[in-house]
């Protein structure tokens, strides 16, 4: 079957080259059938890559170790769940998965634009096809997913760290975000190429942008959750270069999502929006380059190889091509409109953009500094979390403050008196909240500031929603709940956005909790106890289990007491896989809204004995759960913001 998989990739490459060229010829020669043929090409490519992906999945399920990729990332004992997710565990499979997503998204775009944006479509098809060619070229020459080897008895197995539900969700969500940004980018370039520079391309791709932004954010969040549960160091974000690489396009994507609103409302910032979407798309490619080139040490690296340099070459092409197009259209991209007032929603959006892009730049600088220092000084200077925290925390707090201020300001022209009046209640509430939080602020000024600003932001959002509903009640005579529901239904984007903002505030609260993390390490004999925070942990001994033939588990039993009461029996463990020399710590996490008690079995003497002493690392991590809850709330907000407007379909 692998021959069919290879053929489908090769055929897709040929067809993608065809669909990159033919629609442009169609435009030049006025031949609509060429464009229609290119559209069919996208469907065919989607079909062929789906066949390839199905064949690879079948090979995994069928334990076909004659395929090198299958032999390297699975073995006979791998559970079904992880056998399927092994598809994207390595470089070759993830390239195929990326290509699959792009081909499916492209097919959806063709369906969506069957009867609209016909002038854009030839260019959109061409740009998507060129991007697709990159992945297909790689899979044809540099990283063949169906490469054959002499079949071993059994495969090497999947890295035990990847055998976690987080691994099933983290890469696909992240890839959906990465790939999704190709669509707004393609429309932006089509708009430049056709010279139709209104906001049609923005409106057409609005849902794609929110979709990609959401999945990119969720990809990062799933990655954080995975790191927290699997890596066992007590944290979820380490400013690893590849984490940064997926954080940067999220930041510029967020800036873009906000700045397009100004173009839609004021017909301004056309150049800036183009720059932002090019930057976001380029950063997604840059992130892929970092992961796959091995130029920077990272936990995510796929190792050194030529693949990264294909992405670098593509990145350079994208930047040069896009910059040329923007510069050549500068005269018609310029807006005739100006800001009516410096105190207006528009200007607050501009500040928000500057802050977001500033954060992206700071992160970029920190990520690239080891390379820059090596190039200049000849030695790699590593930039660690202190740099990123020092730079990004003040930027993040300023951004949070703006999330609160923006809704208080009117579009166009906000008067100082109105601003003061709207500002008064949130200001008083946050002052009261700030005073109440003084005890937790001692020695943690930035954390206190973050909590206080969070109170301010939540108050402004609640007030904004209430005022909107009240204004509707006054004009329509509807009762409050009906007015509120109708208001949200009629302004899904605005109120979906506010819900997203609430989710962001909850995430800030979760992140701020890090300031109060407590950590303790102790070696305990059986029956001995350690205390941390309000908890007392009594070590009851070790146990050995073999739930599956490939894995042995050493489980420690600890009674956890709080306030003199036994609240739970914790079972932190270490897993020993036959396929891996390194044991994997399985954290026992007792998660609550106030804090997480995070217990790691750090070590014990070998050979195993039930009564051996054991070393434990225990963390009390306050408020972490709010980070994940914030993610869920953002999901709800995004869903509302993306809901179609049914009004026109009645």
């Amino acid at each position: 079957m692998n021959e069919i998989g290879e053929l489908c990739i090769l055929l897709s490459l040929g067809i993608s080259i065809y669909s990159a060229i033919v629609p442009i010829l169609g435009v030049k020669r006025g031949r609509d059938e060429y464009v229609a043929s290119a559209e069919n090409s996208l469907f065919v490519t989607a079909g062929l890559i789906t066949i390839s992906s199905a064949i690879l999945t079948y090979a995994f399920l069928n334990r076909d170790f004659s395929i090198e990729y299958v032999a390297n990332y699975s073995n006979r004992d791998l559970p079904l769940f992880y056998t399927v997710s092994a598809f994207w565990a390595g470089q070759k499979g993830s390239l195929l998965f990326w290509s699959l997503l792009l081909s499916l998204f492209a097919a959806v775009v063709v369906i969506q634009n069957k009867n609209k944006n016909r002038d854009f479509m030839p260019y959109v098809i061409s740009i998507i096809s060129i991007t697709q060619c990159l992945f297909l070229l790689l899979m044809t020459f540099a990283a063949r997913p169906f490469e054959l080897i002499y079949p071993p008895e059994d495969g090497s197995g999947l890295n035990p760290m990847l055998q976690n539900p987080g691994m099933v969700f983290h890469p696909p969500t992240l890839y959906m975000g990465y790939v999704g940004f190709t669509i707004p980018y393609a429309f932006a370039m089509a708009s430049l190429l056709t010279g139709h520079l209104g906001d049609v391309w923005i409106k057409t791709t609005r849902r794609w942008t929110i979709f990609s932004w959401f999945f990119l954010g969720m990809g990062n969040l799933f990655g954080a959750w995975w790191a927290y549960r699997v890596l066992g160091w007590g944290g979820y974000w380490a400013w690893d270069p590849v984490e940064n690489a997926s954080f940067m396009p999220w930041l510029t994507g967020t800036a873009y999502l906000h700045s397009v609103m100004i173009q839609e409302r004021r017909d301004m910032l056309k150049v800036w929006n183009m720059v932002l979407i090019v930057l976001t798309f380029s950063l997604t490619i840059f992130g892929t380059f970092l992961t796959r080139s091995g130029v920077i040490q990272s936990v995510h690296s796929f190792g050194q190889g030529p693949v990264g340099y294909y992405f670098l070459a593509f990145l350079i092409i994208v930047i040069v091509f896009s910059s040329y197009l923007i510069v050549s259209r500068l005269s018609i991209l310029k807006s005739n409109n100006e800001l009516d007032s410096i105190i207006s929603r528009e200007s607050s959006f501009l500040f928000n953009n500057l802050i977001l892009v500033g954060a992206a730049f700071a992160t970029f600088w920190g990520t690239m500094f080891p390379l820059i220092s090596e190039a200049i000084k000849g030695e790699k200077v590593t930039v660690g979390p202190p740099f990123f925290n020092q730079v990004n925390i003040p930027i993040g707090l300023a951004l949070l403050l703006l999330v609160g201020i923006c809704p208080l300001i009117a579009w166009k022209k906000a008067s100082i008196s109105n601003f003061k009046r709207n500002f008064l209640i949130p200001f008083i509430v946050s002052i009261i909240g700030g005073i109440a939080l003084m005890p937790v602020g001692t020695g943690h000024l930035l954390a206190w500031l973050s909590f206080t600003i969070s109170i301010f932001v939540i108050t402004t959002i609640v007030m904004e929603v209430y005022k909107g509903a009240r204004a509707r009640m006054e004009t329509t005579g509807e009762w409050f709940v009906k007015a509120l529901v109708t208001l949200i239904r009629k302004n899904k984007r605005r109120y979906g956005g506010y819900i997203i903002h609430i989710g962001v505030v909850l995430m800030y609260i979760g992140i701020t909790g890090t300031s109060y993390n407590v950590e303790k390490e102790a070696t305990l004999n059986k029956g001995e106890a350690m205390t941390i925070g309000d908890y007392k942990l009594v070590y009851r001994g070790l146990d050995l289990k073999e739930p599956v033939p490939t894995k042995a588990e050493v489980i420690a039993t600890m009674d956890v007491e709080k306030g003199g009461k036994n609240i739970v029996t914790a079972l932190p463990r270490k897993d020993f896989y036959k396929t891996s020399e390194q044991p994997i710590s399985r954290v026992y996490n007792i998660s609550g809204l106030k804090e997480d008690l995070y217990i790691i079995l750090a070590g014990f003497p070998i050979p195993f004995q039930k009564d051996s002493p054991a070393t434990f690392k225990v963390h009390v991590n306050p408020l972490v759960k709010w980070l994940w809850i914030g993610g869920l709330v953002i999901g709800v907000g995004t869903f509302i913001a993306m809901l179609p407007d049914w009004k026109g379909k009645r």
Partner: protein
Amino acid sequence: MIISLEILIFISAMFFVGYPIFKKSGIRGRESGVNEALGELIHKKEVVYTSIKDLDFDYRTGKLSEDDYKELKEKYEVEALHILKDIDDSGKKKTTVDEAMIKEILPESAEPITDKDFIFCPRCGTKAKMGDSFCFKCGAKLPNLNLTS
């Protein structure tokens, strides 16, 4: 078996890709006939309408003072009026300017206002009664905008 499947996939793919060319169907022809100037006007109109809706919402939620609201609203209404007139002039559609504007820019809650009620002065934006010949504020000649009548 594998070779037959490969041939089948190859032929099917080629057929599906090449079909529109052999059929020479001008599928869903491009919008080359669309008047670009008109498209630009419609875009401008939407921008102004959104601005007016935002103004209205910001005023009703207490973010704009009455003076600023009135000043900005009049400014955008005049702008809307000019754009609508330009759209009408471009011959796309013979609509009653006021009808279109009333339908699209006024809050849903507002009482329906017929085209008999008012027009705006193109120079200063002041509201005037339909049928008036001159603006009572600045004296400018008021256009006869009821194109359908």
